[in-house]
Symmetry: C2
Subunit: 262 residues, 2 copies
Amino acid sequence: MTTSTPRTPLRRQSKSMSPAGAQSFGLNFQGRLHGALAHRLGVDILKGVYQPGQVLPNEIDSSANLDISRSAYREAIRILAAKGMVESRPKAGTRVTDRKRWNLLDPEVLGWMFETEPSDDFVKGLFELRLITEPAAAELAALRRTDAHLKIMGKALDDMDTYTLATEAGRKADLDFHDALMNATNNEALASLSHSIGAAVAWSTRFKQRHQALTRDPVPDHRRVFDAIARQDSSAARWCMESLIRMALEDTQKSMNIQYLD
Amino acid sequence: MTTSTPRTPLRRQSKSMSPAGAQSFGLNFQGRLHGALAHRLGVDILKGVYQPGQVLPNEIDSSANLDISRSAYREAIRILAAKGMVESRPKAGTRVTDRKRWNLLDPEVLGWMFETEPSDDFVKGLFELRLITEPAAAELAALRRTDAHLKIMGKALDDMDTYTLATEAGRKADLDFHDALMNATNNEALASLSHSIGAAVAWSTRFKQRHQALTRDPVPDHRRVFDAIARQDSSAARWCMESLIRMALEDTQKSMNIQYLD
DNA sequence: CAGGATTATAACTCAGACAATTAAAAGGGA
DNA sequence: TCCCTTTTAATTGTCTGAGTTATAATCCTG
């Protein structure tokens, strides 16, 4: 019943059979042992393998079972603690904190979330949040954007057109667009939030792409937002962004329903 | 020019002069060495003592200078890396990441931010974000709240009345109110965001309190929001929340000597 | 039964060594 | 000269084993 199953080996198998390229572009540097373990534990906590309130086995046993050093184990725990997911005290051990204290909007945590199939409710909530913040952001961007912002957004838009969301380059262009928009709002906090959500959306997009090859072309929607911002029409920017997100939500829901039918 | 000045001693001075109570309720467990160091480095990075792109002195030297072990130092760095503030690679060292990658909405980072006087722009941005999310949240809460939520919010409101924002208990009641409201939205992501912002607002409230003893009584404003949510009047809830935040913003701006009022 | 001393257990800190990674320099061939 | 490969060296990463400190739980005393 414990975590006896080794699953993926956590550490690179000595120096035999190097898979070379594999997936070179790993966003999360989990090439380090502590990172890999934090990743695994984080996903397990999100999946409910370890539940809030539960105390993990102590350092000595855990590190021994995982066949890694205590240092590496401790550093992994430190990472999770920094994200509000565990809390450790002498004598009491390390326990999973209450769900409400988890930093769900941490980009890495969001990534872990989309590692496995996130709950329908969560995805819905995420889009709801997006529907609250991004139209407002578009409105602010329309009022405050400079020509430099416009230039970057235009470039990103073109890239989205040439590559598509099916490619990594295309998804990056999508992110660039939204990032530039956020910078245009001249609001760091808002930008930070949207950066996180954007990452999550990128994950879900990838998800979508995997299960449903053909989706609507997103570029026209984006261009409408762009045009509104370019002519500083704040209310149009808001409205176009809202509609863009609703489209994406629709697509995502469709692809997730399909997913459930499998 | 380097960080030679020892400042606060980072580690408890052996076992002499224990200040006993001091501030017992420390939210951040920085009683641990790695936590204390992460705190200090985090604040320094936010203050610009270490700038984005700059590489920190290597582990060996740093830990030696600070007179702590490499383990403790490394765990501190792990914490900062988890919050997106630094990034370390073999041979290249540990460098402060680009500001855009910092998890500014991490509750701990926000706390560090308010440790020193945060920039006017940042506070303004935070309120702007609050002005976007919280009214929307109030609206959702009005639609989805249960009697259990109402009960908690009512209790918090009473507590806010008896204690005031001048006391820790009063600020906690304020947090409780907002937390309950967020739970009522039935949206985890939104709740997580507001939890972070709430913490920041609590810090700024404390700030406000320090510089300007007499502020408007916030309870009536809160009660209007509560009433609207109780009778499931979503648009009223939105409006009342918006006005509540504008009031708070006004007070904060006054206490911070911010020049540009709208 | 309350409150203070005791104990056992866990995290915490330390020191020193070795391994793995990789940026940068050195070298070699066209 | 330029590009590609090899070597080097600096830094983080990992490991081991030991001692220290905080504290939850227990025991003891009044």
